[in-house]
């Protein structure tokens, strides 16, 4: 043995040397250096004439590939080793190919014939290896070219080859779905193969196929059912049951047939994996409807066994199964609440997460306090090194919110407690991204829906707004806290403190949407604070308010240049309003004669915000409002804007002036002459259009239209005082007629004082005559709700059943879907689009195929002509070269290149007689035979 070792020191390092060398390296740098030198040695060795050297180099590269070192550059050499006649080398070649080739590896097209040869080999081990290799490297063109051969292999005399051929077919189908049609009858036959491993392989393949497009495989149900009832091989039973789980949803009759044998297995098997698969099949196969009490009881009961052992794995899958069953049978699962609750404190976070997910469905009014307390305790870090990972903490917070808000807060009896929980959550989750906003939404929800706890919620929000810690560590919640403080400013104890806290925030400290909310909240709080008539409007009070107003003006000025459109628009709007207020305060006689605040503050401001109380509205309500008769949404409200003449005139004048200025500035006559002519031309043009317009007979009408338009614009302009109210109301009425759904913006506060409510266009939306009346169900009491707490349900339109609005489950779903979409599309998902749409019942596409084949034939013919021509030339060249052995490698390469050009698969170039003309011809023939 040792003599042999000495005899062949052909390569610098054996695989063993390489591995030892790597292991001897002390640090990463040394390893890197060592590996790089090893790879450069391999670069030499793969070119060697000695197949042993070449093979060893490929093996070494395959080893290094495992650690992320590229070896795609050696693909051609791998192919050479694969085509070696020696099994030991072939084996290594295939291994390297499986490790390094991808669908886009370009040498794959050279592999077709080699694979064909190996598949046809008389040695079944060669055949098996080719199939194994193919399962990893199959590309669409390989799949197309080799499908026929593999279908033949499914009837090979040796079961060893048959089962491999069956399994590899799935990979072929993925790349070349057409093969499914031709091979399906044989696949069906394989379900009755005398060899169990072949049957098992077939079941595996059909199971995977059925996941993509179950309808195709329904006809196999009787055969599969037979296997289910007769086989005792657990591996295969699991696959069969999984397969039925895919079929059952599309064929409801299967359920009745399947339940007896599956029940039988559930009750007799000792294999947990099989038991779990059966329960899974019943659940995910859609066999568990609400009526199937007995079946569900059995499943839930069997699953309890999973928790009675100490095995963590069983607990985990048990929780997964419960999580599915709880959707249809929450009460049954709730009977096992004890074991599930225990899992909530499991040291394993994966188990905890599943348990917490499940507990959401199991809590009731009695257990909610306790469960939330347990979860909150988890969130509080026990010690510095025991901080739970952030994703888990986020998960727990979401679950707490879910279980409390579930079913419109039916489990919450004490809303002060709930608000306190929310406040604590804000504190606990400091520094956790995004979750603040979710807590904020809940706080807002409670404040809006539960009137009795509103002042409490407002107090909590006010504390958050003034809390510097919250602003730094959990700013997400402030958007909602700020909104609550503004909307329910009436409950604020110290509005001026909140106001000052808000206006002292510099731009860019908070996110844009929070800023926008704050800007909206400030006028609300201001109107509450300054507009109150409880404090007499004395001189000092006037001064104080004036100071505050000016501070707000200064604050809004800072934001009026914000890049965010919401912030900018709102701040600019209110900026003008506050300037007016400041003016109004200043203009008041300073003699204490009138102790009421200016009307602008005491009446106009509140009327902007307090006319209607805000109630929760279902997210779907807007859609339910029927479109009023005669309203054509495609019709334009206003005709496209026509610029008025005056503007045109002004523009022309301005232009002329600029031109003149230029003329004066430039001393050159030519330029100025040219410029003046253009000006003249332009002004002429505008004049002519003007003349043309005025000469028209509908001149009068046009004028009237424009006048109205101008009035309309003025009416919308809060700073334009109209000559008479009569005109205003007239134009307003016209406006309503033309566009009934136009909403009224914050109108001029001065005018609002005398506002006729009926003229507010929004009232036009009361389409009582057309549709069902708005169902206002303010403070409807929930059935499961203990007395005293009233929770407002959402308002909606029309259908009573849908009136419960967004179900918190839906909200939870939204949350989870938001979480799901945040993930990138997984690269681990197999691309099976071809199979998903592949229907065996669809009309045969033979015709299309035939055409394609014809086309292909023509292409081949042409390629052949070219190849023949090139071969002739080649032969002439090679006659000289062949003699010089050294250059042979080069020629081989040349041929390879040409072959690639012609796109004709050919024999492996590594073979010795490659340069021979005869082989060349044979290769072309081969290719032809294969294509046709």
């Amino acid at each position: 043995m040792s003599t042999r070792v000495k005899k062949t020191p052909l390569f610098k390092k054996s695989l063993h040397d390489l591995i030892r060398g790597i292991r001897a390296c002390k640090d990463e740098e040394a390893t890197d250096k060592y590996v790089r030198s090893a790879i450069s040695e391999c670069r030499q060795e793969v070119l060697s004439q000695d197949m042993d050297v070449k093979t060893m180099a490929v093996l070494k590269l395959a080893y290094l590939q495992m650690f992320g070192h590229d070896m795609t550059w050696a693909s051609f050499n791998v192919l050479e080793v694969m085509s070696s006649p020696k099994f030991v080398q072939k084996r290594i070649g295939y291994l390297a190919a499986m490790q390094s080739f991808g669908v886009d590896t370009d040498v794959l097209m050279l592999a077709t014939n080699m694979l064909k040869k190996d598949l046809a080999s008389s040695n079944h081990l060669d055949v098996a290896m080719a199939i194994s290799g193919l399962s990893n490297i199959v590309s669409p063109s390989l799949a197309r070219d080799l499908a026929e051969d593999l279908i033949k292999m499914m009837n090979h005399s040796k079961p060893y080859v048959r089962k491999k051929a069956v399994l590899v077919m799935y990979k072929i189908f993925l790349q070349f779905p057409e093969a499914l049609r031709t091979s399906f009858p044989r696949l069906r036959d394989k379900l009755e193969d005398p060899e169990i491993s072949v049957v098992s392989a077939t079941v595996n393949v059909i199971c995977e196929l059925a996941k993509k497009h179950p309808k195709n495989y329904l006809p196999l149900a009787p055969q599969l059912f037979n296997i289910l009832t007769t086989s005792s091989n657990n591996w295969m039973l699991i696959k069969i049951i999984k397969l039925f789980a895919s079929l059952a949803p599309i064929e409801p009759r299967l359920k009745a047939k399947l339940i007896p044998p599956i029940t039988n297995i559930i009750q007799t098997t000792t294999a947990m994996s099989l038991l779990y698969e059966c329960i899974n099949c019943i659940v995910s196969g859609g066999m568990l409807s609400k009526e199937d009490e007995q079946l569900a009881t059995m499943c839930v009961g069997k699953l309890r066994i999973f928790f009675e052992e100490t095995d963590q794995n069983l607990k985990f899958v048990g929780l997964l199964a419960y999580n599915k069953i709880v959707l249809t049978h929450p009460l049954l699962v709730a009977q096992n609440a004890d074991v599930i609750m225990d899992c909530m404190d499991d040291p394993d976070l994966s188990i905890r997460e599943r348990a917490v997910e499940l507990v959401v469905y199991l809590v009731n009014t009695d257990t909610l306090f306790d469960v939330v307390k347990r979860l909150m305790l988890q969130l509080i870090p026990q010690s510095r090194d025991q901080v739970l990972p952030e994703h888990y903490r986020v998960e727990v917070v979401r679950r707490i919110l879910d279980m409390c808000s579930n079913n419109t807060y039916s489990n919450v009896t004490n809303f002060e407690w709930y608000v306190a929980v929310l406040v604590d959550l804000v504190k606990i989750t400091e520094g956790v991204k995004d979750i603040g906003a979710e807590i904020g939404v809940e706080l807002q929800n409670v404040a809006v829906r539960v009137r009795s706890v509103r002042d409490y919620a407002v107090g909590a929000s006010a504390r958050m707004v003034t809390d510097k810690d919250v602003m730094i560590k959990n700013p997400g919640v402030l958007k909602y806290a700020g909104w609550i403080a503004g909307e329910y400013a009436i409950y604020l104890d110290n509005p001026e403190i909140i106001l000052n806290a808000m206006i002292n925030i510099e731009p860019q400290t908070l996110s844009d949407d929070t800023e926008a909310v704050y800007i909206q909240a400030i006028p609300k709080i201001y109107s509450q604070y300054a507009g109150t008539d409880r404090i007499p409007w004395t001189h000092s009070r006037a001064q104080e308010i004036l100071q505050l107003t000016e501070n707000i003006v200064a604050y809004l000025e800072k934001y009026s240049t914000s890049m965010d459109i919401e912030v900018q628009e709102r701040s600019v709007e209110f900026l003008e309003l506050f300037r007016l207020i400041a003016l109004a305060i200043k203009e008041r006689p300073d003699d204490n004669s009138d102790l009421t605040p200016p009307a602008l503050i005491s009446q106009a401001m509140p009327s902007m915000f307090n006319l209607w109380e805000l109630n929760p509205v279902s997210a779907k309500a807007q859609k339910r409002i029927p479109i009023p008769e005669g309203l054509d949404l495609d019709e334009e409200f206003n005709a496209p804007v026509v610029y008025s003449e005056s503007e045109n005139e002004e523009e022309a004048l301005l232009r002329e002036q600029i031109m003149k200025q230029q003329q004066l500035n430039s001393g050159k006559n030519i330029n100025s002459a040219a410029a003046s002519t253009t000006v003249n031309a332009k002004s002429n043009k505008s004049k002519s259009t003007r003349d043309g317009a005025s000469s028209e007979s509908e001149d009068e009408e046009e004028m009237e239209r424009r006048r109205q338009e101008r009035r309309r614009r003025q009416a919308e302009d809060p700073f334009y005082i109209l000559e008479s109210d009569k005109v205003a109301s007239k134009s307003r009425k016209q406006r309503q007629d033309s566009s009934s759904s136009e909403l009224s913006g914050p109108d001029d506060p001065m005018k609002n004082e005398k506002l006729d409510i009926d003229s507010i266009p929004i009232m036009k939306l009361e389409i009582a005559s057309i549709a069902a009346p708005v169902t206002k169900k303010k403070s409807k009491r929930h059935r499961t709700q203990p007395a005293h707490v009233e929770i407002a349900t959402e308002e909606t339109f029309g259908d009573e059943n849908a009136a419960t609005g967004v179900h918190p489950d839906e909200a939870a779903q939204r949350r989870s879907s938001a979480r799901a979409t945040s993930h990138k599309k997984s690269i681990l998902r197999v691309d099976a689009r071809g199979l998903e749409n592949y229907d065996l019942d669809s009309p045969d596409e033979d015709e299309a195929d035939r055409q394609e084949v014809e086309k292909f034939k023509a292409e081949i013919l042409e390629a052949r002509k070219k190849a023949a021509k090139a071969a002739e030339e080649e032969v002439r060249a090679t006659h000289i070269v062949v003699k010089k052995k050294k250059k042979k490698a080069k020629v081989v390469k040349k041929i390879k290149k040409r072959d690639e050009k012609n796109d004709t698969p050919t024999e492996m170039p590594a073979e010795e007689e490659k340069t021979d003309e005869k082989t060349e011809e044979k290769a072309v023939e081969n290719a032809e035979g294969q294509e046709t």
Binding site: M66, M272, I351, S826, L828
Partner: protein
């Protein structure tokens, strides 16, 4: 697709084997290996053997100093995947004869060959234990018959010279360089139900 990949990972985070049943670029492979390694190495012994990674599941089990990791579809049966892993370990144990990490390191290609006989296209191809090993020995015999076994036999003297490698259940001391503490038996995994896994012909979720 049942199994998407199988990775063997040493306790120090070194890859000992990486078999992919779907075609991915080298970059994607490295990313998955890195992510999954961090996840698995961060687990403690008392935890369950399942993890969620992206849209797939990771099923792993530690045997002595090696983590055997399999990636599967999220709809696949976790327990049966553990059985497949266990089956693989058993097969290697029989083939190498009390397998240890060094066997796998220095004869990594054999480990791949065994896996290729056990799984094909990610599906279990043979549920008979005897059959898998028979195929491997047939292939090995073919190699020998070719009189070309020298490359591998060249490795054998070195391996057999290393002390204590034949035993894997801690009775013999192992060189520290070989791999930190291989003292726990391969089959006793997490120190529970010691020996039963290799002794019994069926896995624990398999009746």
């Amino acid at each position: 697709m049942a199994v998407q990949y199988v990775i063997l990972l040493s306790r120090q985070g070194k890859v000992r084997l990486a078999k992919w049943f779907l075609t991915l670029s080298l970059k994607e492979k490295s990313k998955i290996v890195k992510d999954v390694s961090t996840l698995v190495l961060g687990r403690r012994t008392k935890m369950c053997n399942f993890l969620e990674y992206k849209e797939s599941k990771v099923v792993y089990r530690r045997y002595a100093s090696l983590f055997f990791i399999a990636g599967v579809d999220s709809t696949d049966n976790e327990l049966i995947t553990l059985e497949i892993i266990h089956r693989y370990v058993e097969q290697m144990d029989r083939y190498y004869g009390n397998v240890c990490e060094l066997d796998i390191i220095f004869n990594f290609q054999k480990a791949y060959y065994i896996l290729d006989e056990l799984l094909l296209a990610g599906e279990l191809q043979e549920s008979s234990k005897r059959d898998v090993l028979r195929r491997i020995s047939q292939q090995d015999a073919l190699e020998e018959a070719e009189g070309d076994e020298e490359k591998f036999s060249r490795l054998m003297p070195y391996i057999s010279q290393l002390p204590g490698l034949t035993s894997y259940d801690g009775s013999a001391s192992l060189p520290a360089s070989a791999s930190g503490s291989l003292s726990t038996s391969f089959s006793s995994g997490r120190g529970r139900s010691s020996g039963s896994r290799t002794a019994s012909s069926r896995g624990e979720y398999f009746g």
